[in-house]
């Protein structure tokens, strides 16, 4: 039988990807990066939420938000649990492109939740990793 620790490791593994650091180290390093860049988790989460809402309403079609960002949501059926065990989120992938700067990011409803509630941007190598520098470039 799997121990509780083993199970938790299984839940977090896809989010840590190939990053050798622990969950706590990743969160601490990204929190420091946010501080250094003058970003707040609340402000970035609000930006991502605005992009997500605009994209999801279009059911897969691209849309331009405020003349600056091109956003699109791809959604599959079903939900995915938060590895911290507090909620479930739609299986989606939101892509945001800043048409002026050419910077693009991808995230999911779950990665937005992880950022907003747990300050966890995921490990290096995860396809849903949100890099603080990119978040600053695309949101400001």
């Amino acid at each position: 039988m799997q121990s509780r620790k083993d199970k938790e490791e299984v839940f977090f593994k896809p989010f840590l990807a190939r990053d050798k650091r622990s969950l706590e180290e990743i969160i601490a390093a990204d929190t420091a990066s946010f501080k250094g860049l003058g970003l707040s988790f609340e402000q970035v989460a609000a930006f991502l939420k605005k992009m997500l809402n605009s994209a999801v309403a279009e059911l897969g079609r691209s849309v331009i938000v405020e003349g600056r960002w091109e956003v699109r949501a791809e959604e599959a059926r079903g939900t995915i649990p938060c590895p911290f065990g507090d909620s479930r989120w739609p299986k989606d992938l939101i892509t945001v492109k800043d048409l002026g700067k050419g910077v693009a990011i991808s995230f999911s409803s779950l990665s937005l939740h992880l950022l907003a509630e747990h300050h966890f941007l995921q490990g290096k190598g995860s396809s849903f990793r949100l890099e603080p520098e990119k978040l600053k470039a695309i949101s400001e």
């Binding site: 799997q2 199970k7 079903g78 649990p81 739609p90 989606d92």
Partner: protein
């Protein structure tokens, strides 16, 4: 010489005593449906896990973390405590009835539980992959034939959980729900439609590793998305992407049963032509069945699509048809697709003053 006889006796007595202590203090009795099944489980393990090992497959999709709420059981003993996590998913009326999440219920006292007959019908089947076909760039159709003479008895609209074996860095078995796309009349060869999900453990396996001829296990049937029996109502099906298969199963079943009398409108929403599939099937059905109307709609057709059909978000197209063609009287709506599509359709129902009690969709986890 006497030691030769006494020693085995002592050993046997010791073993017997150990078994008695184990049975008395470490094994706990669980009675299912008034004695239909009786088990003795090791103290402390979760009820969900223990029942699973005995071939009683309560649906669950969150790894036992009290997030999906699918593994509910009614427990006769109402004095059991509820965890805070459980209370998020148990209503006050369920609490009154002694409903618990089996994943959160550690077996520490003898239990008498009640499971619905539909839960007891869920079985584990071994299948062989008989065909894999690309339907679009990111959607595959997978056909699985149940080994032996067994058949899956299911209702159109239900789903199965495909069991993905450990692979690459995934060290444990993974179970994911996929709707059945075929008619219940064909219970031995099952059709599933799988959309690739970025970083998805199951869809990556099914798209990249699964081969024809390979065996794959599944659990089923599950779910309560099924046909309601108002044959006089006009039926509107709204689907997109991997939400189309259960609706296909529903209409195919109705066609084979020949029961339905009123019009059936099937709306298939996609972004561009490359996202549509099963078109030949639906156009063929439309020719054979006068009450069936198939309306594919594209929200952003590409110039090369040369699309002359309906354009716009699927909910906008349905709304136009409701106002101009179908009418709003005695309409029932079946929805299947992403959460975004379902929410958008529910807004349409509200906007048009349709009866929300006649809107059916799968709470698909």
């Amino acid at each position: 010489m006497s030691l030769f006889f006494v020693l085995p006796g002592i050993v046997l007595l010791g073993v017997g005593l150990a078994l008695f202590i184990r049975a008395r203090y470490f094994l706990i009795s669980v009675i299912v449906n008034n004695g239909l099944y009786q088990f003795r489980f090791r103290r402390g393990q979760s009820l969900l896990e223990a029942l699973f090992k005995k071939g009683i497959y309560l649906p669950s999709s969150c790894g036992g973390r009290a997030l999906c709420g699918m593994c509910k059981v009614r427990v006769a003993k109402k004095a059991l405590d509820y965890s805070e996590k459980e209370l998020r998913l148990i209503s006050s009326s369920e609490k009154e009835e002694g409903v618990h999440l089996s994943c959160q219920l550690a077996i520490t006292v003898p239990l008498s539980i009640y499971l619905s007959p539909s839960i007891l019908k869920i079985k584990r089947y071994k299948t062989r992959v008989s065909a894999i076909k690309d339907l679009t760039g990111d959607i595959k159709e997978i056909k699985l034939r149940i080994l032996g003479k067994k058949q899956l008895v299911f209702k159109a609209g239900q789903f199965c959980q495909l069991i993905i074996p450990p692979y690459a860095e995934n060290r444990t078995e993974t179970r994911r729900a996929y709707s059945l796309a075929n008619s219940p009349a064909k219970g031995q060869e099952l059709e599933f439609v799988v959309r690739r999900v970025s970083q998805g453990v199951a869809s990556t396996y099914l798209h990249d590793r699964l081969k024809v001829g390979q065996t794959l296990e599944l659990l089923g049937p599950m779910g309560d998305f099924e046909l309601h029996e108002d044959e006089e109502a006009k039926m509107i099906c709204i689907g997109g992407g991997s939400g189309v298969p259960p609706l296909k199963s529903l209409v195919l079943d109705m066609f084979e049963q020949g029961k339905r009398k009123q019009a059936i409108w099937f709306f298939f929403g996609a972004v561009s032509k490359k996202d549509l599939f099963y078109l030949d099937f639906f156009y063929e059905l439309e020719k054979k069945w006068p009450i069936f109307h198939f309306i594919p709609a594209l929200s952003a057709p590409l110039p090369q699509d040369k699309w002359e059909g309906e354009k716009g978000l699927i909910t906008e197209v349905v709304e136009r048809y409701l106002l101009n063609t179908i009418g709003r009287d005695r309409v029932e709506i079946y929805l299947c697709g992403s959460m975004g599509m379902i929410n958008s359709a529910l807004n349409l129902v509200k906007r048009q003053g349709l009866d929300p009690e006649r809107v059916y969709y799968d709470k698909f986890f």
